[in-house]
């Protein structure tokens, strides 16, 4: 196969303020090849590719495309060189249709009819399924991603960069995407996939280039390497890839959910008669396609979401009393002496206040406890110090605004604060989303520690491999219904994938 060099990057450096995002990175991208760009969060993968896509401009270094030196000062110039990037956060305008989004930024007369025709041709060639006149806000995540890919192909891109494309997809959708990407590779296109998931690197890529701390570490032939070697290169030291799963000790019923039914503000049914138990000393995983009701479930238990029917019963281990939490606000629940902790998905939106420092964020939990209208700042401050020390948060001090910390450290602040409440039930929604391997493993360890302390941990996750390694039981949700409960030790990934898309997971007549 013709594997001529499509892009040559030499000694690329880029700095944001005091952060050196890339330093002296040299990288080759070849046609007819899928290159995986592997690295932890903050290792500069996305920044590097953004410089190819014309979003950022390198401070120094040279880029040549097809052997010619190139200056890529804007996304437009990137398109002209045949470089198209599919960003992690989709760059689509919600109120426009798929076709309008696809032709966005092109020149000439606006002719949607012929655009639709060309879109259909591209879809037929590679096996995409897109309705050109559908509005983006009506689409599922995977449909939006398809629109993004068609968009770059429409522009004639033959160098495709995908930034963590599978983060939002189900296993089945991922397989479909990979098949399409292989088609495109066989068609002679150069493909770069940015990822930190090792299994994806192994199933999809031909070569893997590793970045660490903004620097280029090396390129490996995928089939000649293994997960351990790649991780060591990525992290810079030997890391154990195994997630512990201690056996639950003396599990007792802690939370009893029966027929929980929730409608959202628009009146759509988000949870439909959901029933399950959560036990102490156990990690209960919750799997499902994004939007299957995970968020509403946790919020309904925590008292943030109105419920239509059903019960949430908390079994207090100290008094052996059953306490009904239904129709209670978080404050009322706390006053009942029920200690729930909730790590929401939207860390800086619901969990922490970005512009406040670590101490002040601790006080969000304790601001009521001061003497007579004054705040007690001492206790939260020592708690902040304790969390920084225990969880190894890298921050200049307790007075740094949380927003300035990296994603992993933000999450540690939030998780630390919630754990410090010594909860009986700890609920976490996507706690490792956007975190690098190191931080993710820290969070997994924290969950295991809580489990060993007898906390009932509820963990909403998106990475099925992690759920299957970490959880004792996995509850699968599908469109607001319980699709099934799986034993984490015996779970089968394909089966769970099917359960996520269809209640019960049965295949009927396919």
């Amino acid at each position: 196969m013709n594997t001529s060099v499509a892009v040559e990057m030499r000694n690329i450096s880029k700095r944001f303020g005091t952060v050196q995002a890339n330093q002296d990175v040299s990288l080759d991208i070849r046609r007819g090849e899928i290159l995986a760009l592997l690295g932890e969060n903050g290792s500069g993968k996305t920044t590097l590719m953004n410089m190819l896509a014309g979003i950022y401009f390198p401070d120094s270094g040279t880029i040549s495309v097809n052997g010619e030196p190139a200056v890529i000062a804007s996304p437009k110039e990137a398109f002209e060189l045949g470089i198209g990037m599919i960003h992690q956060h989709f760059k689509l305008v919600d109120v426009l249709s798929a076709a309008e989004n696809i032709v966005l930024g092109l020149e000439g007369k606006l002719d949607l009819k012929s655009a639709v025709k060309k879109i259909r041709e591209i879809c037929d060639a590679y096996g995409f399924d897109v309705n050109p006149s559908q509005k983006i806000y009506d689409m599922s995540v995977s449909q939006k991603q398809t629109v993004e890919i068609v968009k770059v192909l429409y522009r004639g891109a033959d160098i495709l960069i995908l930034d963590e494309p599978t983060a939002v997809l189900t296993p089945q959708e991922t397989d479909k995407l990979f098949a399409v990407l292989r088609n495109m590779r066989d068609d002679g296109k150069a493909i770069v996939i940015i990822t930190h998931k090792l299994n994806e690197v192994q199933t999809l890529s031909d070569k893997v280039a590793v970045l660490r701390g903004g620097r280029y570490i090396g390129t490996l032939i995928t089939k000649d390497t293994n997960a351990q070697e790649m991780t060591d290169m990525m992290v810079g030291r030997a890391v154990s890839l195994n997630i512990d799963r201690p056996d639950p000790v003396d599990p007792q019923l802690r939370l009893e959910i029966r027929d929980l039914t929730v409608r959202n503000e628009e009146g759509l049914l988000k949870l439909d008669h959901v029933s399950f138990d959560a036990n102490s000393g156990e990690i209960l995983g919750i799997a499902g396609i994004s939007g299957a009701g995970q968020k509403e479930l946790l919020e309904a238990i925590y008292g943030l979401q109105g419920t239509e029917e059903g019960t949430v019963i908390f079994h207090d281990p100290e008094t052996n009393k059953a306490i009904d939490l239904k129709y209670k606000t978080p404050m009322q629940i706390r006053q009942l002496g029920v200690s729930l902790s909730f790590v929401p998905e939207d860390r800086l939106g619901m969990g922490l206040v970005g512009s406040m420092d670590i101490t002040d964020n601790m006080m969000l939990r304790s601001y009521r406890s001061g003497p007579h209208g004054f705040l007690n700042r001492k206790a939260p401050k020592s708690m902040a110090r304790w969390i920084i020390r225990e969880l190894e948060i890298s921050t200049p001090g307790t007075t740094t605004p949380v927003r300035r910390l990296s994603g992993g450290n933000v999450q540690k602040v939030l998780v630390g604060r919630e754990i410090a409440q010594t909860p009986k039930v700890l609920m976490m929604a996507y706690p490792v989303r956007g975190l690098d391997i190191n931080s993710s493993y820290t969070i997994y360890q924290l969950m295991n520690l809580q489990k060993e302390k007898g906390v009932a941990v509820i963990f909403v996750g998106e990475d099925l491999d992690v759920l299957m390694e970490l959880c004792d039981r996995i509850l699968v949700l599908c469109a607001g219904k319980v699709s099934g409960m799986v034993d984490g030790r015996k779970a089968d990934k394909q089966k769970i994938g099917m359960m996520m898309t269809r209640v019960g997971g049965e295949q009927d007549g396919e």
Partner: protein, 332 residues
């Protein structure tokens, strides 16, 4: 009844034209994501700039016979466009280039614009040596108010459709053009994308800052014409300080009323014009408080529309998603 409508409708239309200019300009601006609350000030500046141009033209004439209607219109128009363009540029420089808060900037510019207008308005009144608290530019106004040919010979048709100065027709044409550009052209598609999601537009190779500048400046110039129409046509060339009133705010309300569609603005502005003067036609006797209540009508209608469009919650009827937000590409 027909006679009543024949007098009421043209009066509602001339009331509505400044609002139409203001709302067309503001809609274009808001489509780029700039919430320009400086529109009332910009309309004010547009008006006073035209007045300044016309005043100096009229006073530079050796004799009244040398007056040329064409030159007067040309100079006045240019002065208005220049004045409002400078206001638009100032707003863009502050909010797009320096990324200042749009609300604060807009409100400051309204305060500034009104003060600017009153200052120069007062100065001109002094310069004119008139003892009255106003300035009359009757000759220029006559040129602006010249009705279409046939206005007086075609009966009711003439008085309904042909009796206005050319600026009134220009307002309608501009809003139709704006609607066409927004809906049917690539420039319009790009502009909508910039207002909805500038990061996406940027990644698609659209120059976000250029679109914001262009839309806001063109929008400001259109809005400035509204001020000019008010003083030269509606007020018959009489400038007196603060006479423009709250029309600028009403124009912004009209943008919401028309759910960001310039073509709806044409009839809506006439409706608003009618509501604005309704209190003069409703017999309320001597009870002035009731009159004041009727003056609220346009605002009440706007609030009702806002509630209805919020309840129906169709995505297409919502304001541009990034309205009021500054865009900075390398923000992380």
């Amino acid at each position: 009844m027909f006679d009543f409508l024949l007098t009421f409708i043209p009066r509602a239309i001339v009331q509505g034209i400044p609002l139409l200019y203001g709302s067309t300009g503001e809609t274009l601006t808001e489509k780029s994501g700039n919430l320009n609350l400086g529109i009332p000030g910009i309309m004010y500046v547009g008006a006073i700039s035209g007045v300044i141009g016309s005043f100096f033209y009229e006073s530079s004439l050796p004799s009244p016979e040398a007056f040329s209607g064409f030159l007067a219109v040309l100079i006045t128009l240019c002065a208005t466009l220049l004045g409002s363009l400078l206001m638009g540029l100032l707003y863009c420089f502050l909010t797009v280039t320096l990324r200042a808060n749009q609300n604060v900037t807009g409100l400051a510019m309204t305060t500034f614009g009104v003060g600017f207008g009153n200052f120069f308005g007062g100065s001109l009144i002094k310069l004119s040596g008139n003892n009255m608290p106003y300035l009359a530019l009757t000759n220029t106004s006559m040129a602006f108010r010249a009705p279409m040919p046939g206005a007086n010979t075609t009966g009711w048709f003439g008085s309904l459709f042909l009796s206005y100065g050319f600026l009134a027709y220009l307002a309608v044409i501009l809003s139709l053009i704006a609607a066409f550009v927004l809906k049917k052209t690539r420039i319009g598609l790009h502009l909508r994308a910039v207002g909805e999601n500038p990061a996406t537009a940027d990644a698609a190779g659209i120059n976000v800052a250029r679109y914001k500048y262009a839309a806001t400046c063109i929008g400001s110039m259109i809005a400035g014409l509204g001020g000019l129409y008010y003083v030269m046509d509606y007020a018959s060339g009489i400038w007196s300080n603060n006479a423009f009133g709250d029309r600028g705010w009403l124009a912004i309300a009209l943008v919401i009323f028309t759910i960001w569609r310039p073509n709806l603005g044409i009839l809506s502005s006439f409706l608003f014009g009618g509501l604005y003067i309704l209190h003069m036609y409703i017999p309320t006797g001597m009870d002035l408080t009731v009159k004041e209540l009727y003056k609220m009508a346009p605002y009440v209608v706007t609030i009702i529309v806002l509630i209805i469009s919020s309840i129906r919650n169709r995505r297409e009827n919502q304001p541009p998603a990034s309205l009021g937000l500054s865009y900075f590409r390398e923000e992380r």
